[in-house]
Amino acid sequence: MPAVVKLEDIHRIYDSGEVKVHAVRGVTLELHKGEFMAVMGASGSGKSTLMNTLGCLDRPTSGRYLLDGVDIAGLDRNELADLRNEKLGFVFQGFNLLSRTTALENVELPMLYGRRRISHHDMQERAEHCLAIVGLADRADHFPSQLSGGQQQRVAIARALVNNPQVLLADEPTGNLDSKTAIEVMGVFQKLNDQGITIVMVTHELDIARYCRRNLIMRDGKVVSDVQVTDRLIADTELRRLHEAEAAAKLTA
């Protein structure tokens, strides 16, 4: 089976005048359909830079990136935008929802810019479906300011899902969430992954990484470790365990 994502010796050098920052120094990796990878590493190790490259938001300084067999180096600005719209879903570090727009309208956003024409009715239906997947069907007409951090993050996930992407990219999706909400979000990811969506996410937390299938560790812009997870955690089980522990704590207290 051909790789969905193929990186060959990717470098990214930020050149902001006097200093040059070599953020990614030669990353080579392949991702196949159905993989679920966590990218870890110290702050400044180049995780976000790599994710932006994967998400076609940024072009590598050198190296080759094949998405679904297509070399993105040959695509112009608009073609990259179409690629982001159709094949990729991006959950940003720090939600990035449109603030004065309802959850539903936020989720509809990528469909507005799709090259395929979708009727207003279908758009709404699909957005509602995606909100249901992340468990927010009853919050469709709430504004981001009326939602908790975890709920906002889930709206962002629903938005990333709405165009049925091949790859879901998430930069620290659990970064500002408490551990229970974080596990809930991981549960959503696991469910999507079970349906065959390829997922790459950045995290700082080792125990969150254990919900993924593959762990990639970066240091100074290089991959230093790339292993399959052996003792994978299942979000549903962990949540149930957490529930029981809470109940027990209340009983004893």
Partner: protein, 404 residues
């Protein structure tokens, strides 16, 4: 993205900040409103001038003493009297392309009837006067050529005189005293109303010019001579003939004439040219405020682009093309300016209505001005919204997302 969603997004963005949108559009509202109001007032003035010129009569040539370039200096029209009754008679006799002549003298006098007192203007005219002026009578008849020749004590009166001095009606046949001399009322003029200058055009008494000169004011010179050409085509010919005739009689040459012959068309052109200049000037001043309004829109759109950099980043990241972002912001500024323009048009019409109501000035809302103002405001939105929209469309998605 389809036009409808672009419009929806733009309206949403504008609704979010109603006060700011309104204040931004205010520049356009004031600009368009001023243009519409000014042009309406100017047009109103022009239409009245035109109506007044038309009421001068049909194919009328006006001969008056004085010249606009006597010895290089301007001596006003109707200056020192140089026209005589003989001049008028000569014109009537020798110029073949005319069908009516009316020598004119004017004076004001105290008149008396039914024990009522009134101070008014007395016009001494020929029997052709009302035909030349196309001024119908509402009652009675005009005095005749015979009355003129016999220095008759007859008169035709305006509506104001009729209502003031003969409140019981039936003024025809009654006696009116002008400077204590009895004049018989033979006709009553149809009402004309106020002039542009606000003068009552019905407050006058017309008597034969011979009677005016000998019985009322003892004048020997004419103020002017009204001449009616036989058709519009013969106006120029008649004008040239009259000038030639008077030059011969007065022994003057071009440049030193002591009289002036003006056709109705020339008078109309001069008057409407003044009104046009005024309208143009007022319109230009108002147009400048439209430009200022456009700069206001550009300013706010630039602020808006900066403020919404993250939003732009999000839209680009989920697949918006730069062109779509540009279209969104351009639509926003056009919607803003067109909305402002529409409100401005209504405000301008309202303002001109108010002016005509309060000040009594005639106003005339010009549909052309409304259409031009509308498209001009759309153009202002397009021109001044282009740069901010272009700026937004060129943002890099990553930079825009990272923007605080």
């Amino acid at each position: 993205m389809r036009l409808r969603s672009t419009l929806t997004v733009s309206f949403r963005a504008l609704r979010r900040n109603v006060l700011r949108s309104l204040l931004t559009a205010l520049g356009i509202i004031v600009g368009v409103g001023a243009v519409i109001a000014m042009v309406s007032i100017g047009n109103g003035a022009k239409s009245v001038v035109e109506a007044q010129i038309a009421s001068l009569g049909e194919n009328v040539l006006l001969v008056f003493s004085g010249s606009f370039n006597q010895g290089g200096a301007r001596s006003g029209a109707f200056g020192a009297g140089t026209l005589t009754v003989e001049d008028a008679e000569a014109i009537k006799r020798e110029v073949t392309t005319i069908i009516g002549v009316s020598p004119e003298v004017r004076t004001s006098a105290q008149i008396l009837a039914n024990g009522l007192n009134w101070s008014t203007q007395i016009l001494g005219e020929g029997a052709d006067y009302l035909t030349i002026r196309v001024w119908p009578l509402s009652d009675g008849v005009m005095f005749s050529e015979a009355d003129v020749r016999s220095v008759g004590k007859v008169c035709v009166i305006g509506q104001t005189i009729a209502t003031q001095l003969f409140p019981d009606g039936s003024a025809v046949g009654q006696i009116l005293r002008i400077k204590a001399q009895p004049f018989k009322v033979v006709g009553i003029l149809a009402a004309k109303g106020l002039s542009v200058q606000g003068q009552d055009q019905d407050d006058l008494v017309i008597v034969p010019y011979t009677s005016a000169m000998r019985r009322v004011s003892k004048q020997t010179m004419l103020r002017s001579i009204s001449v009616q050409a036989s058709s519009p085509d013969t106006m120029t010919l008649a004008q040239n003939d009259i000038v030639a005739l008077l030059r011969q009689r007065h022994r003057t040459a071009e440049g030193s004439d002591d009289f002036t012959v003006r056709s109705q068309v020339e008078i109309a052109q001069a008057a409407t040219a003044t009104a046009d200049t005024m309208t143009g000037l007022l319109g230009a001043v108002a147009g400048v405020s439209l430009i200022v309004g456009g700069i206001g829109i550009m300013n706010i759109m630039l602020v808006s682009v900066t403020e919404r950099t993250r939003e732009i980043g999000i839209r680009l990241a989920v697949g918006a093309h730069g062109r779509e972002i540009q279209l969104q912001f351009l639509t926003e500024s056009i919607v803003l300016s067109v909305l402002g323009g529409s409100i401005g048009i209504l405000a301008g019409i309202g303002a001109s209505e108010l002016v005509s109501h309060l000040k009594g000035w005639p106003t005339l809302v010009s549909p052309t001005a409304v259409v031009i103002a509308f498209f001009f405001s759309a153009a202002v939105g397009m021109i001044f919204g282009y740069y901010p929209a272009r700026k937004a469309s060129l943002l890099d998605p990553i930079d825009a997302l990272r923007y605080e």
